[in-house]
């Protein structure tokens, strides 16, 4: 019993779209951050799918790279979020707008 390729890809597209929507409409900084992680993992899923389909190991290697970058990004991003929260006592993206002209 083999799951068809399309299903994986549809799941990946659905996860990615959810990530984009969350990225656009969520106000909490942590949720936005999680949405970004969701998009990354959706892409990872499609990488793995294609690697399995073509029996090529390149896609899987690439996934490792993405996970590594995502881990680093999470570390830096969470540190920034904590710093922002300490300074402003809020995590609403609409109120973190000091950089505007």
């Amino acid at each position: 019993m083999d799951v068809p390729l399309n299903w994986y890809l549809l799941l990946s597209a659905a996860l990615f779209s959810l990530g984009v929507i969350g990225f656009l409409i969520k106000r909490n900084l942590i949720t936005v951050f999680m949405s970004i992680e969701l998009m990354l993992n959706a892409v990872n899923l499609s990488f793995v799918t294609f690697a399995y389909q073509w029996h090529a190991v390149k896609g899987q290697i690439f996934v490792f790279f993405v996970m590594m970058v995502a881990a680093a990004e999470a570390a830096v991003g969470l540190a920034i979020i904590i710093a922002v929260f300490r300074a402003r006592a809020t995590l609403s993206v609409d109120r973190i707008d000091l950089m505007k002209l």
Binding site: F23, L24, V93, D94, I96, D97, K100
Partner: protein, 679 residues
């Protein structure tokens, strides 16, 4: 053949080292050291030139194989190339070439010899002045450029010297830069010279276009070869032109020669461009003696003699030179008649004498012109140095009307000046008698126009005698018209050059025009029709010249010694003529109205339009950028979710661009897409 090196490069380099030393360290070292460096550098150059002269003289009796081991014998022309390929561009090839031949050797002897004497004189004259070291560094700089000009083996190197002496002249005219008139005079000299240099430069380009080289020897060789081949070609004996390229037409050569002439007229203060020289008297007097009488202003004559082959092939240009010279000589002499500033009298006299030299060049008597150049360097330097001595004694007053009776106060100056005055007036057996006579004789022999030119020259000789004796009587004879405040004793360093120059002015002419022409013949060509066939007219002409000189002396004696009130009455009797002369024919005013004022107006209003266009364009571009920024800055909202939205929209746009089958939607776009994609 092993040609010994004369180390020609040292001749210009020594004064340049002096310039650097005094220019950089001058204000921090004792005055004695400044003097030593400033005077020894030109002396070193002079000794080197003497050495070169001696070396070339030894070889003068040609074919002397036995005197080979002496090894200092040098054949002229002697060429030394310092560094190969100064400029190497396509067919243009220019080297740092120094060339010594008879002409440049004579010129160098004058430049470094008189130059050294004037440096020596300056030690006494400038002793109490501010900026003593600056003065000597400029003077050394001048000698450097002047010897480069004279030694140059090609036109480009000569141009370097040509511009350089202009710079040194500018710096020294404006030496007292606190004085507005001195600064303005420096600027005037520089700008008027630029007009001449413009012509000079155009002439260089034309030469380059016609001959493909700027080396004097190559140009002269090509011209001579072309001339001889063109005879064959006209005879039909030689159907082709052996590797010389197209022969420039006489018209083209004439234009080239006239362009070069414009440069010479600017540098040598000839008729349309002479106006800077009288104002140049704002500089210190030794500078007037060296630069604006003895050496720099004769550069134009030197250049014409150097390039005489070209002028010989352009008869019309020669005629222009002759007429320009005669006219300048005459008009400058009339202006000199009424000047009251002792240095300005001498300045107009210089212009007038330069006119004589141009006249000599114009009638193809180059050796006579160079002969006069040399004697003029002696007696005019002497006149200026004597005038400097007078001014020194008068405590800076230059007005002839305040002088008088200086004979007892300044005996050495008086006697040396007397020699100079008699020399310039053309009395035998003094130097200028011989050289002026040679020029006038050559002019007389030069066809029908020559007779007219000779007559103008003769009248000028009369005027010269008149204004020089006027100066002599007003300054040295009669009663003192002003009490001398503090009478400076003239230092010995000022007297020695006076005496040496007086001796040279006295004896300088005894070489004789015959010897001068035969010595200079390899450089400037054998003089035409200067044979002794008609000695009769020559004697008559000489007598006429002496007669007008005597007449000038007599009239000056009548008007300025016996009845000093007479000149004022004469001036009052014809006010129009007198006003015209005093105001120097209103030439400065005419130039001011015709050239300077319109130029200022154009600069002020015309250039305003240009500024409006340029400024407007700049303003428009700046405004557009500002406007775009004003709109685009709204993107920079600082709102995180708007950034996210734009990011997503951009990604969506890229996706859309990739997915839409453009070739189906719009076939013509295929080409563009393939270009963008890089296929």
């Amino acid at each position: 053949m092993n040609v010994p090196s004369l180390h020609l490069w040292l001749i210009p380099i020594l004064p340049f080292a002096g310039f650097l030393f005094n220019g950089i360290l001058g204000s921090r070292i004792p005055k004695r050291l400044v003097t030593a460096v400033g005077v020894l550098a030109p002396l070193g150059s002079f000794l080197l030139v003497l050495n070169a002269a001696a070396a070339s003289m030894i070889s003068a009796p040609e074919s002397c194989p036995s005197c080979g081991p002496a090894a200092t014998a040098v054949a002229l022309p002697h060429v030394e190339t310092l560094a190969h390929a100064w400029i190497n561009l396509g067919t243009l090839h220019v080297d740092f070439t120094l060339a010594l031949d008879q002409l440049s050797l004579v010129m160098l002897l004058v430049v470094t010899g008189v130059g050294f004497l004037i440096h020596l004189y300056s030690v006494g004259y400038m002793g109490d002045e501010e900026g003593y070291a600056r003065y000597f560094s400029y003077l050394n700089l001048f000698l450097f450029f002047m010897s480069v000009l004279v030694l140059a083996g090609n036109f480009l190197l000569m141009f370097v010297g040509w511009e350089g002496v202009g710079l040194a002249s500018y710096l020294l005219i404006g030496f007292y830069f606190n004085k507005t008139s001195a600064a303005a005079a420096g600027k005037k000299a520089f700008i008027v010279n630029r007009i001449g240099d413009f012509g000079f430069l155009i002439g260089l380009f034309l030469l380059l276009a016609e001959f493909g080289t700027l080396t004097f020897r190559d140009i002269a060789w090509k011209l001579n070869t072309m001339a001889s081949f063109s005879i064959f070609m006209h005879a039909g004996a030689l159907p082709f032109n052996p590797g010389l390229g197209p022969i420039p037409s006489t018209g083209l050569l004439t234009v080239t020669a006239l362009c070069l002439l414009l440069g010479a007229a600017g540098k040598s203060a000839q008729l349309p461009l002479y106006i800077w020289l009288p104002d140049a008297m704002e500089g210190p007097t030794p500078v007037s003696a060296l630069i604006h009488a003895a050496t720099m202003v004769t550069a134009g004559v030197y250049m014409i003699a150097r390039m005489h082959t070209l002028f010989d092939h352009a008869p019309f240009a020669l005629l222009v030179i002759a007429i320009m010279g005669a006219a300048t000589a005459f008009f400058a002499a009339t202006m000199g008649l009424v000047q009251t500033d002792i240095k300005r009298v001498l300045a107009y006299s210089t212009i007038s004498q330069l006119g004589y030299m141009f006249l000599g060049c114009g009638v193809a008597a180059y050796s006579a012109a160079i002969f006069h150049l040399v004697t003029h360097a002696f007696f005019k330097a002497l006149l200026f140095l004597g005038a400097g001595s007078v001014i020194h004694a008068m405590g800076g007053d230059q007005d002839l009307r305040n002088m008088g009776g200086l004979r007892e106060k300044l005996p050495v100056t008086y006697w040396t000046m007397t020699i100079a005055v008699f020399t310039i007036a053309g009395f035998p057996p003094l130097a200028a008698f011989f050289s002026k006579d040679a020029i006038l004789y050559a002019a007389y022999l030069h066809g029908p126009t020559g007779k007219l030119l000779w007559f103008v020259g003769l009248v000028t000789a009369f005027l010269t005698s008149l204004y020089m004796f006027r100066l002599w009587y007003m300054a040295f004879h009669g009663k003192p018209r002003k009490k001398l405040g503090h009478h400076h004793a003239t230092p010995v360093s000022m007297l020695i050059p006076l005496v040496i120059l007086a001796v040279l002015s006295f004896c300088g002419g005894w070489i004789g025009i015959g010897n001068v022409s035969s010595y200079l013949a390899p450089s400037v060509g054998a003089p035409r029709r200067m044979s002794a066939a008609n000695a009769g007219p020559e004697l008559l002409l000489t007598l006429a010249a002496v007669a007008v000189a005597l007449l000038g002396w007599y009239i000056a004696y009548l008007y300025y010694s016996r009845r000093p009130e007479q000149p004022a009455q004469l001036a009052a009797s014809m006010p129009a003529g007198y006003e015209l002369l005093v105001n120097k024919y209103y030439v400065d005013e005419i130039y001011g109205a015709v050239i300077v004022k319109p130029l200022f107006a154009i600069s002020k209003y015309g250039l305003g339009g240009v500024e409006f266009l340029l400024g407007g364009a700049a303003w428009l571009l700046g405004g557009m950028a500002g406007f775009a920024g004003m709109i685009l800055q709204r993107w920079q909202s600082g709102n995180l979710r708007s950034y996210a939205a734009w990011l997503t929209a951009g990604a969506a746009a890229v996706l859309l661009f990739a997915l839409v089958p453009w070739s189906a939607v719009w076939p013509a776009s295929l080409h563009f897409i393939s270009k963008v994609a890089g296929h």
